[in-house]
Symmetry: D2
Subunit: 344 residues, 4 copies
Amino acid sequence: MRVGVLCSGGDSPGMNAAIRGATLRGVDVHGFEMVGFVDGWRGFRDGETVPLDRPAVRGLSGVGGVFLGTSRVAPFSSVLDEVDFDAFRARVADYGLDAFMLIGGNGTQTVASILHDHGVQVIGLPKTIDNDLGGTDYTFGFDTAVSIASEAIDRLRTTGDSHRRCMVLEVMGRDAGWIALHAGMAGGAQAILVPEFPESLEQVCEWVTSVRDRGRSAMVVVAEGFRLAGADHAVTRDGLDGFGRPRLGGVAEQLAPLIEAGTGIETRATVLGHVQRGGAPTAFDRVLATRTGIAAADAVLRGEWGTLAGLRGDRIELVPLAEAVGRLKTVPEDRYAEVRLNFG
Amino acid sequence: MRVGVLCSGGDSPGMNAAIRGATLRGVDVHGFEMVGFVDGWRGFRDGETVPLDRPAVRGLSGVGGVFLGTSRVAPFSSVLDEVDFDAFRARVADYGLDAFMLIGGNGTQTVASILHDHGVQVIGLPKTIDNDLGGTDYTFGFDTAVSIASEAIDRLRTTGDSHRRCMVLEVMGRDAGWIALHAGMAGGAQAILVPEFPESLEQVCEWVTSVRDRGRSAMVVVAEGFRLAGADHAVTRDGLDGFGRPRLGGVAEQLAPLIEAGTGIETRATVLGHVQRGGAPTAFDRVLATRTGIAAADAVLRGEWGTLAGLRGDRIELVPLAEAVGRLKTVPEDRYAEVRLNFG
Amino acid sequence: MRVGVLCSGGDSPGMNAAIRGATLRGVDVHGFEMVGFVDGWRGFRDGETVPLDRPAVRGLSGVGGVFLGTSRVAPFSSVLDEVDFDAFRARVADYGLDAFMLIGGNGTQTVASILHDHGVQVIGLPKTIDNDLGGTDYTFGFDTAVSIASEAIDRLRTTGDSHRRCMVLEVMGRDAGWIALHAGMAGGAQAILVPEFPESLEQVCEWVTSVRDRGRSAMVVVAEGFRLAGADHAVTRDGLDGFGRPRLGGVAEQLAPLIEAGTGIETRATVLGHVQRGGAPTAFDRVLATRTGIAAADAVLRGEWGTLAGLRGDRIELVPLAEAVGRLKTVPEDRYAEVRLNFG
Amino acid sequence: MRVGVLCSGGDSPGMNAAIRGATLRGVDVHGFEMVGFVDGWRGFRDGETVPLDRPAVRGLSGVGGVFLGTSRVAPFSSVLDEVDFDAFRARVADYGLDAFMLIGGNGTQTVASILHDHGVQVIGLPKTIDNDLGGTDYTFGFDTAVSIASEAIDRLRTTGDSHRRCMVLEVMGRDAGWIALHAGMAGGAQAILVPEFPESLEQVCEWVTSVRDRGRSAMVVVAEGFRLAGADHAVTRDGLDGFGRPRLGGVAEQLAPLIEAGTGIETRATVLGHVQRGGAPTAFDRVLATRTGIAAADAVLRGEWGTLAGLRGDRIELVPLAEAVGRLKTVPEDRYAEVRLNFG
């Protein structure tokens, strides 16, 4: 059994641990031959691979990023409708591959599902810091991102309190507010703004003011995809400001002056950015990723093609890819209500 | 509705977040009156309480330990068979309490279950760094303990590698090896020794030797409750060594010289001890604990007495206490097999 | 002896430890009476003070920010030339103060020096994350800021490597590049750009390209005050872009597209922002700040007015304020040369 | 110019950064040829070396331990009085070495000084987590050890407070109490016990009791080399207890029951052990070590043999080895007095 491992999309802490888990289990226990594609589909396209074995993955469980590299290169040279799957399968045959492990988020797992429908033997390993993938309780990388954002909140609080300022922290989450929700809850934020639930500027200002009235300084956590409710306010996502000029700033930089104007409280924005996805994974993500890799290797052994190795409670379970992909997992109303009732 | 909050047993990171979550939800949203007992059953016995409201729990989500204090004082002055539950209920009535939130591990939740059987309106909040409680995927405090132990492994590895030494790290886990299993997996340990699965000294030495033969230095993680298989070896738990003298050291200090003698490889022991249970909780534990507290407050509102607010997947669910207590949740064979196959 | 403690300017990790050290030494050992002004000169102006004693500073050595608050309110209501120092001294007498401890950076210590010249008994405690103050080897807060920036570099590296991207990190340092220099050296950055030493865009691009040519991904650390050498490039500081529009982004956001255009290598900017100054101080800063506070209390006892408690080697020494203030301590050529020779 | 790099003694965070700094400067800037000896004098004896160049030191500034390995193997096969220095110089000539960089603590730098007296061209790089070496304000590794110990104190405090227990933390420091002094000060310990200043058990118990009387829980930090003052108490170092049995425990494990007996306060001991010397160095140590390596390479270029690259204030200066070695740098009375006055 010869297995190819390929990463696609943004990197996520834990990818190395997942590849290490899959390799140790696949090669040493099940006797697979394994290869990794360098920079994802780019390596697949260009024929760039590295052999995966114990020495190749040594010491990697706690290392951030992904040593194989990843890219946003697409797997097919044409649009999906017209993909020549015979050519794709021929390319797979060129590599002598019996099976594929695809490590990626929603986009990648959708591709995995399509490949499975066209007879490619594939197992999906869910990965995204955004946690917006179905079929799994959590994706590896998410806990690390939340942990970094939570530490940033702890830091911003002390400087906010010292200056009686409102601090606004922007975290990742274009379509799903999971990082904002968990980090904000962990840090005791007084308002958590997520894409799923627009709030009006008046409401946000009321929360900030009520915190000040209790003698504290407000901490607002906002996901990058959040939009203010109502038409009068300018926090938009189209990349242009009201003068038709390209925007440089994110939602936090747009929101902070609006809050300051609306409350009279000095307000400062911080955009956490790329540090959220980098660096050593948390122990939680290392364990989740390692177990995901092990489960994927076992799934290859048993031929459970077209599945995703997802976390269900404290177990890794194989979920049909078709069930997991297609729709984004967003923050449900009850989870938002858990925190919103105590905002301010 | 007047609710008493009481902690019992060892402290666990996240207890403050749980009390904060329960208080903000209970007092501000549901309109409860809430009091905390100082030092657990000691405060209950001695009449020492503090009011719980928003100012009392301010800024506590990220603070380790528990501000109410906890103790191992027992709730009843006599053995359970002869407990005068009428007297106990009278004491509860003295405090004017309608309901109890009990934050604790196996022992405490067993008490909670008994109290429920005798008509006390009680909700359990599961807490233990050992993760050995049923009815929940994970207990808060566990992720923090694993995180600290995992960081210790990362540190010990570099000094072990520099000196070509075998490093043995002892972590908590008297009856269940969860901390050793997760931290060892996160840190890529070459042997993880847990109470549930005795291994022979020969086997342990073989793993350590095989690591050396690959040019590396072995990292062995051992739970305090681990015992060597077979009668010939002296890692015992009875507190006496072979000369009938009291032992000072733990299992790591006993194991290290045996490994050194058995392999010829210099071996050093480290006992992580109390640092495992202290300090700021991880973001994961803060979120889990906060949600547990919120769910407990909601359970009080709905009168779902005799239940435990447990984590099931990504949801908090109320589980009958009777189902959760009584047996320890230990590491199952398949979880140990996940790692054991790749030892050495 | 009645001593007033006052903080001014931006907050800096270690301020609480300094106040704690001064208070424990001043009150418990020397028998002073001490008061703190809330929000710096604002509290002085408005008569808002808190007593400082052991309970007031309990547990504060590891807490970020400053519990007294700080502000940028000026000490005098008029410009310095026309300051009515008699009125100022009368205000000091109103508070019954014999001496002042002023905790602040260059601006604050300049004020301290002027006050001393006009007969106010004052001791300066140097504080700034920027490390740009004379009279001391290092200011407390600097090590924490460097530590946070260094950790951000570690995180950005792994995501940069995974995507073969050049990562640009902007850190604080408007006029002095100390944070960039130390964090960049700690993180092994391939280019460190500081205000003191402009470099041309061509030079920066050459460094980035040479890193890529060695098969790695470049890490560029840039202080906010850095400007490109030469007139052709647009990284300016006047707050307007080439179209006369207000700039939202900082130097990193301006530099990144220029590097990408100049090298053809995908480049991403991160602005670290306020997280640099917040949160728990490092052990180094806690010790430095505590010792600074102790030395300041001793200086008050001995009446060594008009001095700054500065670090010299491993000792705290009292330096005349007049020597310490007036000029910024910037990165000298030999320190920049230490790193520049190995850029790329 | 061909330069050998050799580490001796225990590992210390920053050693990799020092070798990296020396290599980048020596090879890339000065054009040296450089080799490292594997496992210190063992590699020298056995002829095991690795070439040092840019790829060899890539990414090492933030990595703990030392990739070359280190050992306690002695440099000479005979006692120093009878060392055949001709043979030693011949061995150096075999390797074609013009100069040596010796990275180590007191013992190693004493050897360096002797070698210099016998005509070997040597530069010393001071390294020890204990900070007990003369000729430098601080040694790299110390700040990391202090940082780890300080974090352990933060953790132990929360569990100590929760249970109203006295916590005793043992840190490294056989002859010098620097780690205990700095970590204890950073963590606000209520008693710091160092080898330089014995205290009686009565005094220690009085401090612990006074903390309890203020409603807090005492934190005691003790260096491994501390001994109780007076003959009646049993904290000894001879490896035997009062029954002539080998002691397993360290000073904390001996002290804790004495404190508990003397105060009636439940007391727990933690021995930090090897985690103090492992893992990623702090930014401070990375910078200090890198600069030390750079300065050592420059010293080789200029032929400043027989010197140690020490930190003096914010500069690295070359100090004659003869001045630096021979006596241990211990905690002076004024530094101990800084903290002792506020114990309890």
